[in-house]
Symmetry: C2
Subunit: 328 residues, 2 copies
């Protein structure tokens, strides 16, 4: 089976590529080739038993995308996106990448003789909600940000294309992924990773929301597991509804800090200071904090592990590289 | 106030243009000019006290659309669309007109110094539902057809653009509009108008569904009233949610036939024969048959009149022209 990862240089794309290289197969099918496509030239993971092509290109350019999805491709994992803060700052860029990019993916898939499975990353940002609501599986997407609107449009496009047999899509509305490696950024959600990552690096950081603030999270490893399940699952039971709210975890900031203390000790916990920020609290307070995710569980998507387990995995897998990257 | 109607040669566009020409104002604002734009050159209505420009062009061509929405335009009524049967038959045409057309409208509106009101016609076809459900105002749009998917994408785009202040949109999910003048066509919903129009023309027609079949309808005049209300209303109370389910009417086929008999006599009713068609019943059976429409009523959208009233209006306003057009 031939696979393409669009956004293959990104945080999740590179991690998925490494997992595929290691596994050598997807479900019970051997992987015969992998294409990694991104704006910046992706790096091929080590140790794959199959050939890996790395391509740099623009996701909104149909010719580049067609080159990344050659005849015989059985799976396209479409992670290429302009994320929330960037799509909010530059409407045209977000529309170009998140909408026209997905249109280019559809066009490339339609040129294949056999319609491929497409795993699309949508987002909880495509919902409203707020702190006190548990969103049902049939909750409406009423996004309060351009990123979420563009992702919801992409879902509609791929859902309709699936109904028509042009491709076979599964859209995963990913929770906030923690712990992200790297550094704090200007995203309103940056603190959700920072309050765990920075103390483990020995650095101070601030908590802009009350400890009671709830957020719907998943770990990078869980996201990869969901991608792999979505890539290999029987899509028959989905019918025309191709959008999945996978079983993330609602945790409060306080619970995250307790897990930090359990794993990193009181000294790590002490590096996080409360610094209420009304602007950030207002933005993130409108995000959905919990989903029922009943359908996803029934469809075999695995449950997010607890925060302590997630933190120990970050320490084992990502902490050293993050330290090196940041010169710590 | 300067107004543009995109789709100005269509059934509803021409009727709206005539109403505006007659009224001379919108709410308490005088109309200073009207542009009618369509693929086929629209005809200007008679008797307007303001200048009317008629333009032929492609809604998916940004240059043509920009010419139709000149600086100073305060209201754009965007009715240009490829309808359900055509969008299902030709996916690319539907996407081009219904999605890229709406993108071109957004681009043209962003070029205006003052963001215009945009009244967008979406459709009940953007929902699933079925016969036994009353859809709440926050029901999810999970379309089972390309037309509905493209309309829902357009709604998301215009909702986000409204939130960003690029324009000020109201999207009306129109019910099945009856009685359409003209002739029966291949749309699965064609019978909903045909069972009323054809007998009034003295022609036989068939009913492909049981008399218990329910459908969510509105009259052409009610649709125009809703357009005018959406054009002049205060959009502040809408918040980010720019989609409106206006207060149509759920009627059964049996109730329509009873109204036909009341208005046209038993001879008219006798021209409709039951000819069950499982294929048509399967398609239309998945459409939503009723909406709560609570929010629209609170926002001042007027209630659809009963079928007898609607039929008498058709006879008074459209029957003679329909006879002439069809050589009867």
């Amino acid at each position: 089976m031939q696979i393409t990862i669009l956004g293959g240089a990104g945080f999740l794309g590179a991690r998925l590529a490494a997992r595929l290289a290691q596994a050598g197969h997807l479900g019970d099918r051997a992987i015969t080739g992998l294409t990694l496509f991104d704006l910046a030239l992706p790096k091929a993971p080590q140790g794959a038993a199959f050939p890996i092509r790395c391509l740099a290109g623009d996701i909104a350019d149909p010719t580049s995308v067609a080159a990344a999805i050659p005849q015989g491709t059985g799976l396209v994992v479409h992670l290429a996106a302009v994320v929330s803060a960037a799509a909010e700052a530059d409407f045209d860029l977000g529309l170009r990448v998140n909408l026209h990019g997905t249109l280019a993916v559809l066009a490339a898939c339609r040129a294949l003789r056999t319609p491929p499975r497409v795993v699309f990353t949508s987002s909880v940002a495509s919902f409203g909600g707020g702190q006190d609501v548990v969103l049902a599986d049939d909750a409406r997407q009423l996004p309060g940000n351009s990123y979420g609107a563009q992702k919801a449009m992409g879902e509609l496009l791929l859902q309709d294309a699936s109904r028509r047999g042009m491709l076979d899509a599964v859209s995963l509305r990913l929770p906030t992924v923690i712990v992200r490696p790297g550094r704090p950024n200007k995203a309103a959600s940056s603190f959700v990773s920072s309050i765990l990552r920075e103390p483990l690096l020995g650095l101070q950081t601030s908590l802009p929301v009350p400890e009671s603030f709830g957020v719907w999270i998943c770990s990078p490893n869980r996201a990869i597991d969901w991608f792999l399940h979505a890539a290999a699952m029987d899509t028959g039971p989905l019918g025309i509804d191709r959008g999945i709210n996978p079983p993330g975890l609602r945790v409060t900031a306080g619970q995250m800090l307790a897990a930090l203390e359990a794993v990193g000790g009181p000294a790590a916990r002490a590096l996080v200071r409360a610094e209420p920020d009304a602007a950030i609290a207002a933005i993130v307070g409108g995000w959905p904090a919990e989903f029922a995710a009943t359908r996803a569980r029934r469809l075999g998507f695995s449950q997010q592990e607890d925060v302590e387990t997630l933190l120990r995995a970050f320490i084992a897998e990502d902490l050293a590289a993050t330290k090196a990257e940041r010169g710590l």
